[in-house]
Amino acid sequence: MTLLEARGLDKTYRRSGNPVRAIRCIDLSVASGDRLGIVGESGSGKSTLVRMLAGLLEPSFGQVLYRGNPINGANREQLRELRRGVQMVFQDPRSSLNPRMRIGDIIAEPLFSPVQPRSIRAHAVERVAELMDLVELDDVAPNVYPHELSGGQRQRVAIARALAPAPEVLIADEAVSALDVSVRAHVLNLITDLVATQNLTLVFVSHDLTVVRHLCDRMVVMRDGVIVEQGRTEAIHANPTDDYTARLLASVPRLPGH
């Protein structure tokens, strides 16, 4: 069952100076249960693509479909459904949490969204406790502020917030790139467990091929707004067909003897 789909997506930024075409007519579909990796260097358009999939960015052309129905344009109901079913985690732990809110309120906030049924607001407190357990933050009190937490802990709060409305699809945009190597392993293990236990469909964006290889079973390689290669992660790592992918794989520095 295809959950998220991009049909002929195109995006041009018209900031000052000359316009930049970030996405060039992309088709992509994410089926339920997929663990899709989107790999690309800076400027490849991978973040722009997922922001459009999450309905946070208007495409210049083309459509984003959620459960078969297009979300942009007039029908608000479809967008509301996407807001319930798709949640996102961002890269920088320092800017993904409101510094003036306690983490308990941050995690609970999505429950009070207008797109959610009023009924789930009733037991928000229990839900927060449950979520904090889920993301291994049980040793942290819900009334602390983000600046009192480490990078890894902050990222786990962001994940708990994303899971609060029990979404079907979790989009992670460079979710571990800003973390220290030692903390990264924790968060990757957490994501692997959550995808399994919460039967989430994962869309994981990263510039780091080794992380994508570990987390995702299917992968897409992007360059200058175009998908240059697509397929099973193992197959692409074994023998990449596109030479850009080959160069990408060859450039990853390897530890000697490993």
């Binding site: 922001r51 999450a54 309905g55 946070l56 509301r80 807001r83 319930r84 798709v86 949640q87 996102m88 961002f90 890269q91 920088d92 800017s95 993904s96 949490l97 409101n98 510094p99 003036r100 809110m101 941050i106 906030e109 999505p110 969204s113 207008p114 797109v115 959610q116 600046h147 962001a158 917030r161 994303a162 409305p165």
Partner: protein, 271 residues
């Protein structure tokens, strides 16, 4: 060092506020009754002596604190109540709306408080505390707009705003729950320094006779009237001068102290 600035500012401001409260509750004598002895040295019933018309200096200084705080509070609230929302809107909007708002701010910037007060005083035929407050208040709006807008732009670029949109929240919720609380510290700092500016402006206006009318004592006017006695009775001009300087310094230091307290980016290891 940072704490010292905050405490110094807070104590000075507290002194001015205290003087204002005391003047409401108790005055040594009525500040406006003319009488003898004139230019008297400090004595029992005139703790700070009297001025050239025999009016009690201490009472006039206390009441002066009242008018200075009054103008400051009203002017700063005009600036904040109008400037902050406009700043947030300008920060949040793209294209025409943002430029129109900021162009408007540039135009009001070109009208310093004094010019506005002159225009209002001339148009209404007489100067009054109202025209002074209105003029100073209007002139503080652009500064509030500019400060709030840049803070709002920073906040709106943060991921937690994107996450809130992703969870389905509209601009209203985002403005109230995310933008305002994170803009508040900047506005607080701006209000404090704007207060200092407002006091200075009010003093200048009343010195030129464009502020609080002569019937109510104000520090600026007191200095104007004491000008011709400055060689013989320096304290007539010096005391109100010190009061103004103390009040303005107090609010400026408070502003700096708050900025250091609330500004997390002060840690630095190089250069």
């Amino acid at each position: 060092m940072k704490r010292a600035v905050l405490w110094a500012g807070a104590t000075l401001v507290a002194l001015v506020v205290l003087a204002c409260l005391v003047s409401v509750a108790w005055l040594p004598t009525d500040p406006n009754t003319v009488g003898t002895p004139t230019l008297a040295p400090p004595s029992a019933d005139h703790p700070l002596g009297t001025d050239n018309l025999g009016r009690d200096l201490a009472a006039r200084l206390l009441v002066g604190a009242r008018s200075c705080l009054l103008v400051g509070v009203v002017a700063v609230s005009i600036g904040a109540v109008i400037g902050v929302p406009l700043g947030i809107i300008a920060g949040g909007s793209r294209g025409v709306a943002a430029t129109v708002l900021m162009r408007g701010a540039d135009i009001v910037y070109a009208f310093p408080a004094l010019l506005l007060a002159i225009l209002l005083a001339a148009a209404r035929g007489h100067a009054s505390t109202f025209t002074a407050m209105a003029a100073i208040g209007l002139s503080t709006i652009p500064a509030f707009m500019r400060v709030t807008r840049s803070a709002a732009v920073d906040v709106l670029a943060q991921d937690y705003v994107m996450a809130a949109r992703g969870a389905g929240f509209g601009l209203g919720h985002i403005a109230l729950r995310h933008v305002l609380p994170n803009v508040a510290p900047v506005v607080l700092v701006q209000s404090s320094s704007a207060f200092g500016v407002a006091i200075l402006a009010e003093a200048s206006l009343s010195y030129l006779g464009l502020g609080t009318p002569p019937t109510t004592p104000s520090w600026g006017r007191m200095i104007y009237e004491a000008q011709s006695f400055v060689y013989s009775d320096i304290q007539l001009a010096a005391l109100p001068g010190i009061c103004i300087a103390a009040a303005v310094l107090g609010f400026n230091l408070l502003g700096d102290g708050l900025r250091d307290l609330l500004d997390p980016t002060l840690r630095e290891i190089t250069r």
